[in-house]
């Protein structure tokens, strides 16, 4: 029973890989045919200019509008980036075929083996986003992963699909420091869990505290450290935990405007990734630290900086901050002009946050 299920999962991963490879091949074949016919190959890319990024209320995320840009190898000013993109597709094809993982920085250096120059990593990063936009697939699908800095802990059993570990399973509550969310976890199949909720927390220090205080057991939860703004692989994992394991997701951040926005990005994505649709958890809930909590829990605060305040005003223009707690808390931040970190609860004892604050917020989340 278990083996057949495993086979099924393995087929599923294979299926995905096959789709990706098929898609890359069809792009390649089209360009091959153009060249063979004496035509300059070209393709269109959804425009990522600010004017083409719009908020879709139905999808509850930013998406790209209908504007597209033609990239032609005939145009001498686009020829270089055209070639870079071709190389990247070629490189992604190899990575996917060989099931090798790579990072943004890897890509930057790998290019040099093929006489493809990138001025700097930001140029190669940009081409990677182009590939995502053309294919509407996140780079992780092409085995290009961010540097790992977020981690996960809790009762979750996964089955690896990466070469050498195929079929191997692992429970993520065996190691108290947590497991970093890298290529193997991102591509692993999610098998089983006893958890009833996922708690995403902004900071490593609090993650460790939560593990120590056995929050996973006390509240039947999977704890994820986002390490600040959640990397895309982490957001993908959050989405999968929500969609595949049917777990609700709550987000706990510092009590400032950046924290509020970390929660928002998990919930509805970022404008930067408007070309992708598999990175959001629209049902995710931000439970704190709210601006109103600062007064309610009498937390020690520090004054907001100029850039904090500017960020508040910027977000006020964002369509996602026009109602609900998002608008309310933003307004309070602006009124207080002060902010509080998660660690601020330590004023009332190290376990105050896990003993008092968290249970109240979990209770509250049910009604949000």
């Amino acid at each position: 029973m278990k083996t057949s299920k495993s086979k099924e999962r393995s087929n599923k991963a294979d299926e995905k890989q096959k789709n990706i490879l098929e898609m890359l091949k069809s792009h390649g074949a089209k360009i091959y045919a153009d060249l063979n016919d004496g035509q300059f190959p070209k393709f269109s890319i959804p425009s990522r200019s600010v004017s083409n990024i719009v908020y879709d209320k139905k999808l509850r995320q930013y998406i790209l509008g209908n504007n597209t840009a033609l990239r032609s190898s005939r145009n001498s000013s686009q020829l270089r980036s055209f070639t870079q993109l071709m190389w990247l597709a070629f490189f992604a094809n190899r990575l996917t075929k060989e099931k090798k993982s790579s990072t943004l920085r890897d890509v930057y250096y790998s290019s040099q083996a093929f006489a493809i120059e990138f001025e700097d990593q930001s140029e190669s990063d940009n081409i990677i986003v182009d590939l995502e936009a053309v294919t509407s697939k996140p780079r992780e699908d092409f085995h290009i992963f961010p540097e790992e800095r977020s981690s996960i802990f809790g009762d979750l059993t996964v089955e690896y699909t990466i070469p050498g570990y195929e079929g191997k399973t692992m429970n993520l509550s065996n190691h108290p420091d947590g497991y970093s969310i890298g290529p193997s976890l991102t591509t692993a199949e999610l098998i089983d869990t006893s958890a009833e909720i996922v708690i995403a927390i902004e900071k490593g220090g609090l993650f460790t505290r939560f593990v120590e205080e056995q929050i996973d057991k006390k509240f039947k939860s999977i704890i994820i450290n986002t390490g600040g703004q959640a990397p895309r692989s982490t957001r993908t994992l959050l989405k999968r935990l929500h969609d595949e394991m049917k777990l609700p997701v709550i987000v706990l951040t510092d009590g400032d405007v950046y924290g509020e926005h970390i929660a928002m990005v998990i919930k509805s994505g970022s404008a930067n990734a408007a070309h992708l649709r598999e990175l959001t958890v629209p049902d995710a809930k931000w439970v704190g630290v709210w601006a109103t909590d600062i007064e309610k829990y009498k937390l020690p605060t520090i004054p907001m900086t100029e850039s904090d305040i500017k960020r508040c005003y910027d977000l006020q223009k964002d369509p996602r901050y026009q109602d609900g707690i998002w608008k309310k808390e933003l307004d309070v931040f602006l009124r207080l002009k002060r902010k509080a970190e998660l660690e601020a609860f330590s004023k009332y004892g190290l376990t105050n946050i896990t003993d008092k604050y968290l249970p109240q917020k979990l209770e509250l989340a049910k009604s949000l």
């Binding site: 890359l24 091949k25 792009h27 390649g28 074949a29 360009i31 091959y32 045919a33 060249l35 063979n36 004496g38 035509q39 300059f40 190959p41 269109s44 425009s47 209908n66 504007n67 597209t68 840009a69 033609l70 032609s72 190898s73 005939r74 145009n75 001498s76 000013s77 686009q78 020829l79 270089r80 055209f82 070639t83 071709m86 190389w87 597709a89 070629f90 094809n93 190899r94 093929f114 006489a115 493809i116």
Partner: protein, 623 residues
């Protein structure tokens, strides 16, 4: 008292120039050597131009003592194949200041031939050596003079004069002067080089003191049409000039002496015959057309006096008062002054009036100025508030000033006649530029004639890019009346116009290899200084320069953008050659093919690619 009186003694022109030699460009040994070269070379070219001879000019500078350090005496010799000078004129032409053959209104390099005399004077002052002039007008006999200037008296001193047989026509002038070739050399070489660019029909050679020879053979066989001498334009006139013209136009009442009476009798064919008064008048009427002016005046007087020749011999005309129509004379017989009334109805009245009071204004204007016909003269008289028949001889000083002012102000005169100008012409100019710079691009323009303050002028300009031209342009070659201008360029109107130009607008960027040649031709170049090195910014001249330069710049821009397109196409081809094979390589693996696509065709097609298509493709398509 006597000492004060001495101070007011006249000084001779030679003395004046001696004490003001800076003005004429003889301020120091460097500048003096350069100026002397210029003056003699320009005189030689002018002499040939005037006679339509293709000039061969040979310039030699030799140090008297090569071992000495600069500044030191040099012998400067300029030989030409021009018409030569009548030996009887040579002492005066080279031994006095202000003797010249160039007075008259037409374009020439020098105005009065003054500069050469200044150079001779300078040479004499600094080395005390005579000028040696060799001239042959017929190509057979040559006169050789050694001359010194008597500065105080402005008179030539002939040291030596000889003649000999020769086989070539032309003039050779040789002076000894203090100079500094080590400093002036660059400018002199530039001068010779640049002169040969603007005088492509001349062969010019230069033997320098260091033994180097610079030769610039002619590369155009046709000499440009020579300018004609013309009457002045009313805008270019002043009171003094009008006064002189009036003097020229008026005829004095001839003195009626025995000789004059004899001449009248002879012209009337009455030498041997005595006729009565009426007989004489009848005879005069018949012969009138053949009579010279003076005789006509005598007859006119006789008609009022009603005298025959015998009576006429016994009187002397004292005054003719045309206003009151009275004639006063002294009668030797009665020893008293007498007067008679003149009848204006007498047909001779007009004859007398013309002589005594000069021409009527309208006649004066139409006869002595260009661009004034009878109609214009009448309109002008009305404008200036003069009666058209106003006699020039009756004008008061104030009226002359008014006339001069009005001539300047009246705007309906046609622009000055440019036939007195001798531009080089577009074709020889272009040929010269091509020969000198071997450029990738050349454009020339000759602007239509224009005028400032009554002096006509024509602007010729050329522009060239690339080839042998040095980078760091624009390099500006300035000419005025075929003379290269090498000094004081900073304050020159041409430089001003060039510097005002935003070359980026004409697609000229960076450190461009390009030159601009500008040639101003005029009967009078408005030099800022007597050294004749920079042209003042008269608005009319500036405007023409600007229009000329704009025209050329637009041509240059068109060339540059073509050149840019060619560069771009090349660059693009290189890019394709670099990247398309890579794209082929990557898509081959992506498409899972064994063989690379055949992209050679694409690269070949690209070379014959229409650039218009690219522009269309390069704009982002948004919808």
């Amino acid at each position: 008292m006597s000492s004060i009186k001495e101070k007011f003694n006249q000084i001779s022109p030679s003395e004046f120039f001696y004490s003001n030699r800076d003005l004429a460009g003889f301020s120091n040994p460097t500048r003096s050597l350069y100026t002397a070269v210029r003056e003699f070379v320009e005189n030689a070219l002018d002499a040939c131009d005037q006679k339509g001879i293709l000039p061969d000019v040979h310039l030699i500078i030799k140090a008297v003592d090569p071992e000495k350090s600069d500044p030191k005496p040099y012998i400067l010799t300029v030989k030409d194949n021009g018409p030569g000078i009548d030996p009887s004129h040579i002492p005066l032409a080279f031994g006095t200041v202000l003797y010249g053959s160039k007075f008259g209104l037409k374009q020439a390099r020098g105005m009065f031939g003054l500069g050469a005399t200044m150079a001779i004077l300078y040479g004499q002052i600094t080395t005390n050596k005579p000028v040696i002039v060799k001239s042959s007008m017929d190509g057979k006999t040559q006169d050789e003079f050694e001359l010194l200037l008597d500065i105080q008296n402005n008179k030539p001193v002939i040291v030596k004069h000889s003649t000999k047989e020769v086989s070539k026509r032309g003039l050779s002038v040789s002076i000894c002067l203090e100079g500094d070739y080590s400093k002036a050399g660059n400018k002199i070489r530039d001068y010779v080089y640049e002169t040969s660019l603007i005088t492509p029909y001349a062969s010019i050679s230069f033997d320098d003191p260091k033994g180097e020879k610079f030769s610039h053979p002619r590369f155009v066989k046709d000499i440009p049409p020579p300018p004609t001498i013309i009457k002045p334009h009313p805008h270019g006139i002043d009171v003094e000039r009008i006064r002189r013209m009036i003097v020229e136009s008026q005829f004095e009442i001839p003195t009626i002496d025995d000789a004059m009476i004899e001449k009248v009798r002879k012209d009337l064919g009455l030498s041997m015959k005595s006729l009565s008064f009426t007989g004489i008048m009848d005879k005069a009427k018949k012969k009138w057309k053949t009579l010279p002016r003076q005789v006509r005046v005598v007859i006119a007087l006789m008609s009022f006096l009603k005298m025959d020749f015998d009576k006429l011999m016994k009187i002397k005309i004292e005054d003719i008062d045309m206003a009151n129509k009275k004639l006063f004379y002294w009668d030797f017989g009665d020893s008293q002054s007498k007067s008679i009334d003149m009848d204006p109805a007498n047909p001779y009245f007009k004859q007398l009036t013309n002589t005594v009071q000069g021409e009527p204004l309208t006649t004066f204007l139409t006869k002595r100025f260009q661009r004034i016909g009878p109609t214009t003269a009448l309109k002008f008289a009305e404008f200036a508030g003069f009666k058209p028949e106003k006699r020039m001889g009756t004008m008061t000083n104030q009226e002359l000033v008014n006339l001069s002012d009005s001539l300047q102000k009246y705007e309906d005169f046609l622009a000055p006649d440019p036939s007195c100008l001798a531009p080089l012409g577009e074709e020889p100019l272009e040929k010269g530029i091509k020969k000198f710079f071997n450029p990738d691009f050349t454009a020339v323009v000759q602007r239509p004639a224009s005028a400032y303050s009554g002096f006509p002028f024509i602007i010729e300009m050329g522009i060239a890019y690339g080839g042998d031209i040095k980078t760091g342009g624009p390099h500006v070659y300035r000419y005025a009346n075929r003379i290269p201008l090498l000094y004081d360029e900073g304050s020159d109107v041409v430089l001003k116009v060039v510097n005002d130009t935003d070359w980026g607008r004409y697609k000229v960027k960076g450190d461009p290899p390009f030159i601009i040649v500008s040639h101003i031709c005029s009967t009078r170049i408005p030099y800022k200084t007597a050294g004749k090195e920079n042209v003042a910014d008269r608005p009319e001249i500036e405007r023409e320069l600007r229009l000329g330069l704009q025209y050329l710049s637009r041509k240059l821009a068109a060339y540059m953008s073509k050149r840019g397109q060619a560069d771009m196409a090349k660059k693009r081809a290189n890019l394709y050659a670099k990247y398309i094979p890579l794209i082929a390589q990557f898509c081959t693996e992506l498409a899972d093919k064994k063989k690379e696509p055949n992209y050679k065709k694409l690269l070949e097609d690209e070379s014959s690619f229409d650039s218009k298509k690219i522009v269309e493709e390069e704009s982002e398509i948004e919808n």
